[in-house]
Symmetry: C2
Subunit: 216 residues, 2 copies
């Protein structure tokens, strides 16, 4: 056995992980913008992939906008159940917020079939009918991100934040570039990488940041 | 806009993604073992990370063992809800199987507190009480993998397959090396990388392989 066991108490594991990430960022000569640091580090924590320090792209004050939106009653819409499953619901509910995911809804399946699109894209249309401010967390389907872009352009939806981190090989980079062209606040992982775990990590980083700055 | 839109029908996106992955593997000079190919390609599909072509490590006939185990009634135990959420339950149920996850159980929280361990590790103890053959899919917690190793060594559990792909910085590589030392069938992502999405992708790759080879 070459690798030694490091004794860390269960409740200290996350703290120790973030220390290791910070040390390794210094070793790699990467200095993060303090405002973006909690999000970038949590994504690295979730993926063990330091590439995200280079690829995560933020519109000005994206994190601040998102925190204010949740305080003002914004809810989160996800493209997959896995993103929904990864978001810390206890923390979210503390702020009176909740997560919506429509992927299993009968009407979404029907609308996707009718419009020859994916169910994830049809979910965005359904979200346009919600009467609350919305944050979109897209971790899987570029088709959802493209449809979201169209709905923004048509003025049918005005997200408080778009977390655009789908992963894959077909139109993923294209979909992300569309979001970069909009005027809405965004956090986008440029390139092919991303995923449901990345989308959930970004949501949680924003929520934990709200906890940390509460009452300041 | 530098990146062009590729017109692909919704139901063709996955097929096209796998074609791109295959082409890129050839370009990188990587030739996969045909038996392991469906699993490795699905993990790359889920992560857009070609590193997994190098780091995924399989015990002999791990995929075959897993397929036979599910046919013989094996169920899947996961360390997080996110892994559970990512597994294709429709396909799994077709084979009379199901997924167990105990992370939210009251008795698991109590046992974790009592034993100063994580809830994920306590889930493994609870799984030892199940009276069916089991496949373990660990995508998050190295503590779960370490506890699983101990239970294997104590003869209290004999998994049909261990999917050992936790991600992170504290004892993750250590935990994976323990599993490589056992006699049980395993699929392990060596190094720090892995995740709930990777664990779910491996489960789904096995299930889809069962569909493809059905009746042969």
């Amino acid at each position: 056995m070459k690798i030694k066991y490091e004794h860390v108490l269960p409740m200290e594991i996350e703290k120790r992980s973030f220390e290791i990430i910070s040390e390794e960022l210094v070793r790699r000569g990467i200095r993060l913008n303090p405002e973006l640091e909690p999000v970038i580090k949590r994504v690295i924590h979730t993926t063990a992939d330091f590439e995200y320090a280079e690829t995560l792209t933020f519109s000005p004050d994206a994190v601040g906008h998102a925190m204010q939106a949740i305080r003002d009653g914004a809810c989160i819409v996800t493209d997959t159940r896995m993103v929904m499953s990864g978001i810390n619901k206890n923390t979210l509910e503390k702020y009176g917020s909740r997560v919506y995911n429509f992927i299993s809804d009968e009407d979404v399946a029907e609308s996707a079939k009718k419009n020859q699109t994916t169910r994830s894209a049809a979910c965005m249309d359904k979200a346009a009918g919600l009467n609350v401010p919305l944050i979109f967390a897209v971790g899987n389907a570029p088709t959802a991100l493209i449809r979201l872009y169209e709905l923004i352009q048509e003025g049918r939806i005005c997200p408080k934040l778009v977390i655009g981190v789908p992963v894959g090989f077909v139109n993923v980079e294209y979909a992300k570039e569309l979001i970069l062209k909009t005027d809405v606040p965004y956090i986008v992982a440029c390139g092919r990488k991303g995923g449901s775990n990345v989308a959930a990590a970004i949501c949680n980083a924003i929520l934990y940041r709200m906890d940390e700055t509460r009452g300041r």
